[in-house]
Symmetry: C2
DNA sequence: CATAAAAATGTAATCGATTACATAAAAGAC
DNA sequence: GTCTTTTATGTAATCGATTACATTTTTATG
C-alpha cells in the first residue's frame, strides 16, 4: 500500500506538505502542489482513512440500524437519509439488526470505537440500558420508533391520531364491527395505534372486543393472513379490518379473498404505511401515508447536527389518509 | 475517551500487558489478568477499532453493494451473507449504490482506505475500469450479476437455462404467442434471459417477434404495468408473458386484470425470483426460484477466503421452476 | 543591497493500539 | 542458597495520517 511517506519522498517534500496538499490547506506554492499531485497520480496513492480518522477522531460515517431490510417500510426513509447525508459529506451504512441484541451491540460498538460518528436508530427492541449508555456519550437519534422514557431525540408521526382517523373512516362507511390486526406491542407504534383504534370505537359507542383483536408475531404477509383466518373463524365476523401495516393488510386481503369473500363489499380493509406495493393489489389498498422520505431526511439532519455538537429537538410530522378501493 | 494507557496506569501495568489481556495472548499471570480486567471494567474501556485496525491493517468489515434496497430480490441473499459472515467473525455493511458511479467510488474507496476488508458486489452497472483496478489490489467477489470479461470470481445461476425452461413451460401449456417483459440489457441477466426466451421459441418453431418484446427502464411494478399495457395494445395480443422479474410480472398481472382479462385463462404469466410477495398475489405467481440464501452464503465464504489469500472458484448454482396458479 | 515581514516548508509529536525484543521475576535443579 | 531455565512483564518502534511550532525561503520595504 502506498503511504504518504512514499509520496513525500517521490515529490521531494515532507509529509506535512503532502498532507497540506491533500487537505488543500494553507498556502502551498503552486509549483510544489503540482509536483505533489503528480507524485500522488503516479503512485496511485489513496490516503488511509484509518490513519486520518485516528488522528482526527471522526469518520464521516453514519450507521442506520433497521430490524430488517425486507420490510419495505424502511425503503423511502433510507432514501431520505442517504440523500441528505451524502449532500453533507457523510456516508451511510445500513445495519440489519434482526432485533438481535448481539448484533446491536456490534453496531453500537462501532460508534464507541469511532468507526462511525453516529447512529440513526429505527429498531425499538434495543436494550434500554445499552441505549442510554451509548446516548450519554455518542450522537444518536431515533426515527419512527423511539423510547418514550429516555431523552433521546426522535422524529416520528402521531400514530395514535393516524390510527384513530383510519378507524373513524371505517366506521363512517357504516362498518360497526371493526377488527384490529396488530403486531407485538413491544413496538411503540403498535401500542399507540391500538390506543387510536380503541379511541375511535369508544367515540362512536362501539364496544372494544378482544375477539376482534389479533396480535401477530410475524411482520410478513403470512402474519396478516393467519390473523385474518383466525378472525374469520369467529362466529361473529368483522365487516372491516384496520391493520397496523400494509404488509399485514395485504396478507389479510389475500385470506379474505381465499375464503370467497369480497373486499370491500364483505369486509373493508385499511393498512398503514403506503408502501409501493399497496397500489398493486386488487383492490388497491386504503392506507395511511407517512412522510417517510422526509422522516429520513430530517433524522439525517438531526444526527449531523448532534455530531457537530448542536442541540436538536424532537419532531412529530404529519400523516395522510389515502382512500383507495379497499374501503 | 478511555485509552489503553489509562487502563494500564490504573492497573499498574504496561500497555503491552493490557493488550495481551485484550487479545488473550500468550501467558499473562492470573493475578495480573484479573487486575487488568477490573481496570477495564471500572473505566468502561472499549478498545479503539481505529488504532487496532491501523496497526493490524484489517477491519473485519465487509461491504455489500446493491443497487437498491427496495428490490426484494436482495433480501434473502443478504440474509445468507450476513449469517455466514457473522459466524466467521466479520460484520457486513449494506451500501446502496443507486447505480450511481459516484457512490460506488465512495464505497470502493472504503476498501482502498482499509476501512473495509472486501466487497461483495451485486451491482452490474459499475465502471469496468474502476472495478478491475480495485479487483487487482483488493478482495472482491460478484454475486448474481457479474462481469463476463473480467477474471473476478462470482456466484450466480444459469439465467439462460432458467429462462428457457420458463418459456418452454408456457409453450407446453399450449401458448404459442409468448411475450417477453425484459429490463435494460445493461444487466447481464437481462441479456441471458432473453437468449433463453429466444432459444425456447426457436426450439418449438415459433417466430421471434419484436412486437412481443418489451424492455422497461423501471424495475418497479409500474414498469411491468406499462410494458403490459403496451403489449395489450398490439392487434395480435400475446397469450402468455415471461417476465424477467416477479416485480415486473406482478405489475403485468395488475394491468391484465385492469383490462378485464383473466390470468391464466386469457394470458398466462410467469415471473422470476420467487420473492415472498409472489405468493400473495391473486392468482399466485408461477416463477423461477433462485437459491438466494445459498448464493449469499457462498459469496460471503468466497470473499472471506479471498481476504485470507486463498484462491476461490466461480460457481453456478441450480434454480427451480415453481408452478403456481398464474400459468 | 540589507533587512524586516510574510509565506512556504520541514521537524517531530500525536492519535490508540500491537508486538519484537529486552529485561525482570518466578520456578526448577543441584 | 546459587545458578540456570522458564515465564511474565516492560520498553519502545510501528501503523499512516495531521498539525503546532521551528526553520527556511521568498517577497516587500527603505
Amino acid at each position: 500500500m502506498v503511504t504518504i511517506q512514499e509520496v513525500a519522498k517521490k515529490a521531494g517534500v515532507s509529509t506535512a506538505t503532502v498532507s497540506r496538499v491533500l487537505n488543500n490547506r494553507e498556502t502551498v506554492r503552486e509549483k510544489t502542489r503540482v509536483r505533489v499531485e503528480q507524485a500522488i497520480q503516479e503512485l496511485n496513492y489513496e490516503p488511509s482513512a484509518l490513519g486520518r480518522n485516528l488522528r482526527n477522531s471522526e469518520s464521516r460515517l453514519l450507521l442506520v440500524l433497521i430490524p430488517s431490510i425486507s420490510n419495505p417500510f424502511y425503503t423511502e426513509i433510507i432514501n431520505g437519509i442517504e440523500d441528505t447525508a451524502i449532500s453533507k459529506g457523510y456516508n451511510i451504512l445500513l445495519c440489519e439488526t434482526d432485533s438481535n441484541p448481539a448484533r446491536e451491540a456490534i453496531y453500537f460498538n462501532m460508534v464507541r470505537n469511532r468507526l462511525a460518528d453516529g447512529i440513526i436508530l429505527m429498531d425499538p427492541t434495543v436494550n434500554r440500558k445499552n441505549l442510554y449508555d451509548l446516548a450519554s456519550r455518542h450522537p444518536i437519534v431515533q426515527c419512527s420508533e423511539f423510547d418514550e422514557e429516555g431523552e433521546i431525540s426522535y422524529v416520528t408521526i402521531d400514530n395514535e391520531l393516524a390510527a384513530y382517523q383510519a378507524v373513524k373512516h371505517l366506521i363512517k362507511l357504516g362498518n360497526r364491527r371493526v377488527a384490529l390486526i396488530n403486531t407485538d406491542e413491544k413496538y411503540l407504534y403498535a401500542r399507540e395505534r391500538r390506543r387510536g383504534y380503541e379511541k375511535a370505537l369508544h367515540e362512536f359507542g362501539l364496544p372494544i372486543e378482544s375477539k376482534w383483536m389479533r396480535e401477530t408475531e410475524q411482520l410478513g404477509f403470512e402474519g396478516g393472513q393467519q390473523a385474518m383466518r383466525s378472525l374469520l373463524n369467529e362466529a361473529d365476523k368483522p365487516n372491516a379490518v384496520f391493520s397496523v401495516s400494509d404488509v399485514l393488510a395485504i396478507g389479510a386481503m389475500k385470506e379474505i379473498q381465499l375464503q370467497g369473500l369480497k373486499v370491500p363489499d364483505d369486509i373493508a380493509v385499511i393498512g398503514f404505511d403506503k408502501i409501493s406495493f399497496s397500489n398493486m393489489t386488487n383492490p388497491t389498498l386504503t392506507t395511511i401515508a407517512q412522510p417517510m422520505y422526509k422522516m429520513g431526511s430530517i433524522s439525517a439532519n438531526m444526527i449531523i447536527n448532534k455530531i457537530r455538537g448542536k442541540d436538536v429537538e424532537s419532531l412529530i410530522l404529519d400523516h395522510e389518509l389515502i382512500i383507495r378501493e379497499s374501503t
